[in-house]
Amino acid sequence: MFAELNSILNSSPESFKQGEFILVSDRQTDASFLIHHFLSFYLRGCKVCFLGLVQSFSHYSAVSQRLGVSLNQAREKGQLVFLEGLKESLGVLLQGDTSNGTPALDFLRDPSSGLRGLYDFVHGNIRGSEGRAEDWGPPVLMVDDLSVVLSLGVSVGAVLDFSHYCRATFCSELQGTMVILVRCEAEEEEEESDEGSERLQRGLTHQCSLTLQVQGLPTGYCRDIHGEVEVCWRGRCDGLQIQRKLFQYKVCDKGTLFFARGTSSAVL
């Protein structure tokens, strides 16, 4: 959990806004440090369903250890439901049409079928503990990262359907939170803006309530400033209110420093 980011977002583990859909996106850089932040943030008191599609459980566990949260304990207590995409995927990819693997990763077998299986998995894991839901507070869904399913053949429309269903369940119905990471590759100025991950990012930006867009410095590579984060609050009740803030950041071993543009300790 990064203290500076908490103050930027005006939230703390004790009091944060309900029903938020937070979209973390990056362009030619790596925004996964924000996922680690949100994971350790929400594990302070909520039940979290984490779809780890690109890294192993031990990776998140090792980083969270440094941030002060034990994922193993959370998983044993039932506070954390972790889907290890990599581990489950091998069975589906290699066995082909036998239906032994988790139905959650059915899209690997047949990409045109969409992410219905994944949604059922998520839905089942949150609903399943309905009786004990009061123990943990509002449920949280985290996905790292959603754009990898585009590389596995799923269409943008199917992914947007998935996020819409999840938003209806988590944010509107259960007043929980959703945090999704998408990664874009193309430069924004290119004409190829019809590319899959761009469309996905635009579609999700339309659905969400808070975006954090991470990209590299426009002036080039710098060792002391790793990039910029643009935080954008999209007003919900009065749709015209959109508030933006821009920060630069530097990722350290046990946290991340956020500072206003030009105020990095390397510069001052």
């Binding site: 030619q28 790596d30 440090f33 680690h36 690109v54 890294q55 192993s56 459980f57 031990s58 990776h59 090792a62 980083v63 440094r66 990599l86 581990k87 995927s89 091998l90 990819l93 290699l94 690997l108 990409p111 990898v148 585009l150 590389s151 596995l152 053949g153 990664r183 590759e185 193309a186 290119e190 190829e192 590319e195 899959g196 991950s197 590579y221 060792r223 790793h226 990722v251 350290c252 071993d253 046990k254 946290g255 991340t256």
Partner: protein
């Protein structure tokens, strides 16, 4: 204790530990550390790393290649230097005693193994890894030592390949590796023409490769499936020119490939395999043929470390005096940070490489000092121009028309 990118559990069973301890003090578990020859824990985050075979490449990607990760090499135009890097990678595996897995659609894996460069060792080593055998051609061994007599009875320095514990070796590319050394290494090959009889719809070649790889990993126990008595080893996987037309893929031929996600699915499956076994992979991809930059971006995201080579051969830069010391440019596109938030980022991203007979060097690209008033830097292309702008105070190297 050091962590690995994989989840294979290694270490002594508790029974062993209890029986040999007379005190309750237990040394901080070095025993949990997998001690495989040719690997060492990284100084940055304790991960188990292996050498890529090129010591300067190891330095540039953060010390070495972490076990359980994938290194992507974007090929240069004629696939000469990327092929060289693949051979260095495999040669390092032979020297360290790792097992090899080579897959290619173009050359037979055994041909690739025979062409590996020969390692440069300190003394003349005998290929037979028997430690008790005295070296016949040891040039400095006196019969009795008169000054250092205390060392008389100690064993001589081991130079046999079997006990090579150095991290990173040097190779002589003008000679090929001794066939006896090659044969000592266990090698599994996947030659595409032998596996697929028909020109099948595209994904099958990749599925066949993934299945074969998983079979080998499982059979040889790299994923922890064999009992603990077998000593641990690392599998080095070299996949040559994935995505090229020879694999049945049309990524390089068309702007809108018909199976755009076949290679990316393979890379995803490969990542799953690597994370769950003691193996490390090097993949070369002819990225200069792939028109779709976003697709190349996705391929890079699915790999852990990514390095792009651009050789000067055949381009106008070959005769450019700025680049006369080098054979090409090297770009580190991506460095992973596994099990930690941040990795050690390099100082400088302008790197160039040169393949010398005994070393593949990677250096920071820099301009030679401007020593003369009349030196004219003829600028070919944008890079030279940008480099000139970056150099400090070279006022005379500019426009000749400005004459004060």
């Amino acid at each position: 204790p050091a962590t690995t990118a994989t989840e294979v559990s290694v270490g002594k069973s508790t029974g062993d530990r209890l029986s040999c301890n007379t005190t309750s003090f237990q040394k901080k578990s070095r025993s949990k550390l997998v001690s495989i020859p040719g690997t060492r824990p990284s100084v940055q985050n304790g991960q188990l790393i292996v050498s890529t075979g090129v010591t300067s490449l190891d330095y540039v990607i953060g010390g070495g290649l972490a076990v359980g990760t994938l290194l992507l090499i974007e090929e240069d135009r004629y696939d000469s230097y990327s092929r060289m890097l693949l051979k260095y990678f495999l040669a390092e595996g032979v020297v360290c005693g790792h097992e090899l897995y080579v897959a290619s659609a173009q050359d037979h894996p055994s041909d690739i193994i025979q062409e590996l460069p020969s390692p440069i060792l300190d003394d003349i080593a005998s290929p037979k890894p028997v430690e008790s055998q005295t070296k016949p051609c040891d040039p400095e061994g006196p019969d009795t030592m008169s000054i250092a007599w205390r060392y008389q009875n100690l064993p001589k320095v081991q130079t046999a390949l079997a006990s090579s514990s150095r991290f990173g070796h040097y190779y002589d590319v003008s000679k090929t590796m001794d066939p006896e050394i090659c044969q000592a290494a266990r090698c599994h090959g996947f030659y595409l023409p032998e596996h697929s009889a028909t020109v099948s719809p595209m994904p099958e070649a990749y599925v066949a490769l993934l299945k074969n790889l998983q079979e080998v990993i499982h059979r040889e126990g790299f994923d922890g499936s064999l009992p603990q008595t077998k000593s641990r080893n690392v599998l080095r996987i070299g996949l040559h020119s994935l995505g090229s037309a020879l694999w049945g893929d049309d990524l390089c031929c068309r702007d809108n490939p018909s199976h755009g996600h076949a290679l990316t699915t393979l890379l995803y499956g490969l990542r799953a395999l690597l994370r769950s076994s003691l193996s490390v992979a090097l993949v070369t991809v002819p990225s200069h043929l792939i028109q779709n930059k976003a697709l190349m971006g996705r391929i890079t995201r699915l790999c852990d470390t990514a390095v792009a080579l651009e050789s000067f051969r055949g381009s106008e830069r070959e005769t450019n005096p700025l680049y006369k010391d080098y054979h090409g440019l090297l770009n580190v596109c991506q460095v992973p940070h596994l099990n930690c938030l941040v990795c050690d980022l390099p100082d400088n991203k302008d790197l160039a490489f040169k393949l010398k007979r005994k070393q593949f060097t990677i250096e920071r690209l820099h301009l030679p000092p401007d020593l003369s008033e009349t030196v004219s830097r003829v600028s070919h292309g944008g890079l030279a121009g940008a480099a000139m702008l970056g150099s400090s105070g070279c006022g005379s190297a500019g426009n000749k028309h400005l004459d004060f």
